[in-house]
């Protein structure tokens, strides 16, 4: 009988080939290749210094790799190597089509303008001009990330870490990006507020059909959010596959060590 084609026919959103980046003699990323499909969440796990964040920065066009290519499906359908795009076009892509959620929300927010302006700014970048509409969208998004509407005009500096992180997520998602990069999105938060953020992210990713690459060292976060995992060690991908396969039936010695090191609460 024929193989089902429906899910496999789609072109990838991101096509990464033989990506490499070194800092002096230290190879942060070696020969990383993978594809990401629309609606898919890819988790990148591994210990500190394994090259996860370097990889993420290369994917998001924030860091130029030494070798290899990152090709992205533009809205018109063509696959463009993001490092061959003119700088202004790459920046526009990063501000409109993509989101980037930093581990530390202070790196992804403007602390001296109001919460509403932090959200509205992204909308204005994609062409929104009507003040009333922007304000309404900002209020809607505050609500979606569980921040009281009355905080619209407050400065994010006055928010708790968990609120700041939720605001950063609202700022990133308000413009309906097609691809979101997240660097340890729960990493800077107290355990007590991590669950709320995780649940929120999980709901948003499903509702919006987002594609995402999520870097985390927390295997619980990876299991909850990612469809597929890549395990990195010393700049190399040592194992990849369906999230539950990689975590429940790890093949590589390093993945076995990672999976066996999780404490059962």
């Amino acid at each position: 009988m024929a193989q089902p084609q429906t899910v496999l026919d789609e072109p990838p959103l991101l096509d990464v080939e033989a990506l490499a980046k070194s800092y002096g003699a230290i190879a942060a990323c070696r020969d990383v290749s993978f594809r990401l499909w629309p609606g898919e969440v890819l988790g990148v796990v591994g210990e500190s210094g394994s090259g996860k964040t370097t990889l993420l920065n290369c994917l998001a066009g924030r860091l130029r790799p030494d070798r290899g290519s990152v090709r992205y499906a533009m809205r018109d359908g063509r696959m463009a190597d993001i490092f061959e795009l003119p700088e202004p076009e790459r920046r526009l892509l990063a501000r409109t089509d993509w989101g980037f959620v930093h581990q530390n929300p202070r790196d992804g927010l403007r602390l001296r303008v109001s919460a509403g302006a932090n959200i509205g700014e992204r909308l204005m970048l994609v062409g929104a001009r009507h003040y009333g509409n922007i304000r309404t969208s900002a209020l809607d998004w505050l609500e979606r990330v569980e921040i009281e509407r009355s905080r619209l005009d407050d400065l994010p500096a006055a928010f708790s870490g968990g609120m700041q992180q939720r605001l950063q997520i609202a700022r990133n998602l308000v413009s309906r990006p097609r691809l979101v990069f997240m660097d340890e999105p729960t990493g800077s938060l107290d355990v007590s507020v991590q669950a709320r953020l995780l649940d929120l992210l999980r709901g948003l990713v499903a509702d919006l059909g987002l594609s995402a690459v999520i870097v985390t060292h927390d295997l619980g976060v990876a299991r909850l959010l990612a469809h597929r995992l890549m395990v990195m060690r010393r700049g190399e991908v040592v194992e990849s596959g369906l999230t539950d396969q990689v975590l429940d039936d790890p093949q590589h010695p390093y993945t076995q060590l990672l999976a066996a090191s999780v404490l059962q609460a």
């Binding site: 596959g241 369906l242 093949q251 060590l257």
Partner: protein, 233 residues
């Protein structure tokens, strides 16, 4: 009979790299076939590989050799070789896996845990919730618990929420790993009723049931995992 699952020469070994490279050959040359409307009970002593076989069929474990052919939407998928996206599709539409343990997600209400498989199939939220609540009621989860996250539920309640979640989407194939393990007689009977109904609508079921009486009541055939050949029930 409409064959729904066939394994061919299925083998599964585990190599424990951090424990001296010990190699455990758990499954070897497993050939089995399950048709629509059948309940194939996996038997064999503890450690024979019953759960490993179920998990391998679900592609939760990666087989070392062999094929796992599954009928999916008018096609045949080899779970041992399928692209991850196709495995996810098969799990979404065709094959459900129910263990005795609920993986609790913080803050998600019992009714939403149970509704999730339907939401993943694109069923509208209100309809998904209604069917989930119906299923929670059938496994005797009191209505006052529906809006609560199951983290604080008893073991038996969590298990029943998991069963509601596993049966709500009416998958054509069900893999059941001790679905009645810690349930009292009344609740075990309720779950047995759901299993019979699933079989009556044509589901192909592979299950592990330790209780002898219950297994005899549910199973249409047995497969001894340690012998690796089918025997009559």
């Amino acid at each position: 009979m409409r064959e729904m699952i066939r394994t061919v020469g299925l083998a599964k070994s585990f190599v424990l790299h951090n424990q001296g490279g010990v190699r455990l050959d758990v499954l070897r040359g497993v050939d089995l076939s399950v048709a629509a409307g059948e309940f194939l009970a996996l038997t064999g002593p503890s450690g024979a590989g019953k759960s490993t076989l179920l998990r391998t069929i679900y592609a939760n474990y990666r087989p070392s050799a062999g094929h796992i052919l599954v009928r999916h939407e008018g096609t045949v998928v080899d779970m041992a070789a399928a692209d991850p996206r196709l495995v996810i599709e098969v799990r979404r539409r065709t094959m459900g896996y129910v263990s005795q343990f609920l993986r609790v997600i913080p803050r998600v209400a019992a009714r939403d845990v149970a509704a999730e498989p339907l939401r993943a199939l694109g069923v509208a939220p209100a309809e998904a919730r209604r069917r989930a609540e119906e299923m929670l009621a059938r496994v005797a989860i009191p209505e006052r618990l529906w809006p609560l996250a199951p983290a604080t539920f008893s073991g038996g309640e969590q298990q029943r929420v998991n069963i509601a979640r596993g049966f709500v989407a009416e998958y054509p194939i069900l893999l059941l790993d001790e679905p009645t393990a810690s349930l009292d007689a009344d609740n075990a009977a309720r779950v047995a009723g759901l299993i019979d109904e699933a079989r009556a609508r044509g589901a192909a079921i592979v299950g592990i049931v330790h209780d002898d009486a219950l297994r005899r009541r549910l199973a249409t055939r047995r497969f001894d995992v340690s012998r690796k050949e089918p025997i009559a029930a």
